[in-house]
Amino acid sequence: MLDQVSAHEAAPAGQPGPALAVRGLSKRFGDRVAFQDLTFEIGRGEVFGFLGPNGAGKTTTVRTLGTLLAPTAGSATVAGFQLVPENAVEIRRRIAIMPETPGLYLKLTVVENLECFADLYEVADPGDRIAAALRAVNLADRSHDTCGTLSKGLRQRVALARALLSDPEVLFLDEPTAGLDPVAAREVHELIDGLRKQGVTIFLTTHRLEEAERLCDRVAILNTTLRTIGRPGELRDQLFAKSITVRTLNPLADPGQLFTGLKAVDSWRQAGTTGSYVLAVSDPSIAAPVATRALVAAGADVLSIAESHHSLEDVYLELIAEDPEASRTEA
């Protein structure tokens, strides 16, 4: 269906087609594969997290979708336009990229930087837009400071304001909170939340897993090839069997007899510390009360029964650990 969108026409604005659709996209630099065979779609208004270790190909993916680099294989549509050189200007009109490094003109003031970009995007009412962008990133009072005098975090915010100027349909943020202190990072998070409410599609690359978990509707984990894609919660469930952890004051006399055959409990094992047991379960909400009753009936002193929680970090480490280098050295 996407292939029917011809090179020079887009789906009319506001149509529900995906904001980004990527099929078998690959990019290599000579022999080095930056990313390979990416296939995914991002819906309009979605906040999409793109996670991966250093060198996974995140920045190269952003640059490729942003028409700065030509893919070596595969196809994509960005903001409704086929990713081909003839559409590059139309695509760039509809997207904005906040690159890894802010890349501000350090000898110019904040406003002068933004004026340049407002003109490059041919923004109507540049004065108003600049003021609004500066308010959005809390920089209105620093607007006449020379960028070279700003701290790293403030520069990052100027870069963010610059990306907001043109009211983009798709906003690419390449590690927007890298190097920011927790307060500044939270401000960026709030800003992203605000943009989501306005319906902006956001493609967010990050190393911060808690950031992805908090902000993103879906995440993809990349290590040259896509390892997985889905909602953070779904990924956890896919990857890790559900389990509950039981802790008792004293070790149980016969845990095997107690846990085997309980409803919704598939298996059990002793955890690291004595008096601690992990039960693999099909449904924690059935297994936990059943196990509690069995433990009480056996006279055990129960300290806690808790559903084991796997963070996105566990998912990430599990997937990245599988074969960190294998795909990167493919010829």
Partner: protein, 238 residues
């Protein structure tokens, strides 16, 4: 092509150069070098010595100014942005390669023309007022004045394109500036030869040189436009 985007680049460049001492000094010192030596020479001549000037074309020395002054800015234009990491954000905007380059070229060309004509006007003014009467008359040969006016933009334009071409292929600003100076020496050499009357200036020669420069300027523009490759500019720094 969008005038507003060209203007955005031009204004940004001029704002940056105004605050960049090395650019200002470079653009200021060079014209002095080219103007002071002939000026001193002319002012020291007595009326009797003016005969020797009839075979020299002192004014043409000053064509070195529009030929060399744009190098500093033009050679910096792309390589400098790349070094600073500001090229990537600019290239992710809808700006077209041609708009970007024309903005950059104008930012190098216009100040250079202003400087060249200004220094020339000051030179002419001082000679008129201070030089011995016969000397002034011999220096102000009408054809030389006309040549100065017409060749200034043609030469400056050529330098701008050559230096920008070098700049798009260079990772280092200083190297780009040095190569740019080297590349603009041949036209400087030719004008000096003409000024010294080693090459006899004739109307035919002037028309020939003018036509050649126009061709070269158009070729230079095509060359630079062809060399502008986003992918190379972004990923070449690795």
């Amino acid at each position: 092509m969008s005038k507003r985007r060209i203007w955005a680049i031009l204004r940004k460049e001029v704002r940056e150069y105004r605050r960049n001492r090395s650019v200002i000094y470079g653009m200021a010192i060079l014209p002095l070098v080219f103007a002071i030596q002939p000026l001193v020479a002319v002012l020291r001549l007595s009326t009797e010595a003016s005969g020797g000037l009839a075979h020299e074309h002192v004014l043409l020395y000053m064509l070195g100014i529009p030929t060399l002054v744009p190098v500093f800015v033009a050679a910096y234009s792309v390589a400098g942005e790349r070094q600073q990491g500001t090229l990537e954000p600019a290239l992710t905007t809808p700006v077209r390669g041609d708009e970007f380059l024309i903005g950059k070229a104008l930012a190098a060309l216009l100040p250079s023309l202003v400087i060249a004509y200004l220094v020339f006007a000051v030179f002419v003014g001082i000679v008129e007022v201070k030089a011995a009467p016969n000397v002034a008359a011999s220096v102000m040969q009408p054809m030389d004045l006309l040549a100065q006016l017409l060749f200034t933009p043609l030469l400056a334009c050529w330098t701008v394109w050559v230096a920008i071409a070098i700049s798009t292929r260079s990772n280092d600003v200083r190297v780009a500036q040095q190569l740019g100076v080297l590349a603009s020496l041949p036209p400087v050499f030719v004008t000096v030869m003409i000024a010294l009357n080693v090459i006899q200036p004739t109307p035919e020669l002037a028309i020939g040189c003018g036509a050649l420069l126009i061709v070269l300027d158009v070729f230079g523009w095509r060359l630079v436009s062809g060399l502008f490759d986003r992918e190379r500019l972004i990923s070449g720094s690795h």
